[in-house]
Symmetry: C2
């Protein structure tokens, strides 16, 4: 999948792009079943909410063939190769569960703030490209983005160790208020299989999910190979140290896997 000139312009201007229905129902069925199976397990890569519900599964592409294929999928990898103009590697791979009733807040932050401070990533030449595994409604913890906020560079942040179970470099109210006054808020919603990419410096957050609808999103973080991290303060499964450029699999890799293993949408 390649971005056209208008998409490139829009990304530069607003810092995000949304692709509804980028993966098919069959592909999402496969990913969804695999995610549910993993969420039922207990392993060190699964971080939990204060309530005990799973919050984030890290590095599932290292222990699940299905997610290995996703992390190498051309619909996710190619746009980021294109934007960075070079090969990319997997910096992080997350399944954010935002479980029904228990999914907690993600405070206002920039991803690159953490990658720079904790991982010594030289430049904001890495970003998330996210796949909705569940339908994102306006009310089940939709991700909120502040358009144009990526133009402000890396903003001052405080290390919030208290609000949730997950430490995060977060922005203060005054900064968020100023940025929202300029760019507003967008909260893309859509069917499972929709894809969202956003700049590493784009300010974002998501509220708790108090509904019965889970809101699982996979975040694949790809980094330009020449921009690899230089500090190894976090566990390897949170900030990977294998900087080998990704060679994308075929566009039909997930469909072929599902066919071979007889997994299909109901």
């Amino acid at each position: 999948m390649k971005l056209n000139a208008e998409q490139r312009r829009q990304f530069d201007e607003d810092g995000w792009l949304f692709f509804p229905n980028c993966f098919s129902e069959d592909e999402i069925a496969l990913l969804g079943i695999e995610a549910e199976d993993i969420l039922k397990t207990d392993r060190p890569e699964i971080w939990r909410e204060k309530s005990g519900a799973p919050r984030t599964v890290f590095a599932a592409h290292t222990f699940s063939e299905v997610f290995r294929l996703l992390a190498h999928h051309p619909r996710l990898v190619e746009p980021l190769q294109q934007v960075f103009g070079e090969g990319v590697y997997v910096h992080q791979f997350k399944i954010n569960a935002k479980t029904a009733f228990e999914g907690d807040v993600w405070q206002w932050h920039q991803d690159y703030g953490t990658w720079a401070r904790d991982d010594g990533m030289p430049e904001p030449r890495a970003m998330n490209i996210a796949v909705f595994l569940d339908e994102v409604f306006p009310y089940n913890g939709a991700l909120m983005l502040v358009p144009k906020s990526h133009k402000h560079g890396t903003l001052e942040a405080g290390h919030d160790l208290l609000t949730t179970s997950y430490p995060l470099w977060t922005l203060d109210k005054e900064t968020v208020t100023q940025l929202v006054a300029e760019g507003g808020i967008v909260a893309p919603t859509g069917k499972p299989g929709s894809v969202l990419m956003f700049h590493g410096n784009l300010v974002h957050a998501s509220p708790p999910n108090i509904t019965p609808y889970p809101r699982k999103i996979i975040y694949l973080t790809l980094c330009a190979v020449s921009n690899h991290i230089t500090k190894f303060t976090r566990p390897e499964f949170i900030a990977h140290r294998d900087f080998t450029p990704i060679v994308p699999v075929g566009d039909d890799a997930l469909v072929e896997y599902a066919r071979a293993h007889r997994i299909a949408a109901e």
Copy 2:
């Protein structure tokens, strides 16, 4: 304001009705300025979030002429007189602030659950009619309603004294999941001045507001006079004991007040 036959049918069926832009910009400017002035004060009728931010102002119609006019406004009073087929009195009057960044969750509940258990209200012949003072977006803590849930009567509930600063009779996850599977969720959004009425047994909730946009809503709770409360366990400013039927003011009462006091939208 009178409901037509289709609105009556829809209310019976779904348990809620929404009236966009029911109050004018000038009327909302008056109400908004008055609410902001009150929120800056410190008085026993103002309950606070755990953070200290104002959560709910009770009984402003007893100490503010502007809100006295609103509590007697025909656009709010007449539809409820019509539904109950008799005179109504003010059971409760709230300004729910849902302040920017700090407005906390309202857990899943039925209003009548509290009015019955705490106030000894005989029947669910009371309800809220709410006025948006700020724009309600999908992402600043919009109220979520479960259509048709009012048909299930008064559901078993637990008294949640911990989650927020405000004690509430709340529903468990299994109950909410079942009701949402049947009726879905709606989260009406709209400009300041929009009005929302919903059945006393309609299940609803609202998530925290983590945006810079405040989401003030006024909740006027009117009760059929013959259905007045019988237990006085809560402070008078939370559950009123004056059961005199409301005589509505003129439809232009707020506009006249604003004109007389030279208060206008900017």
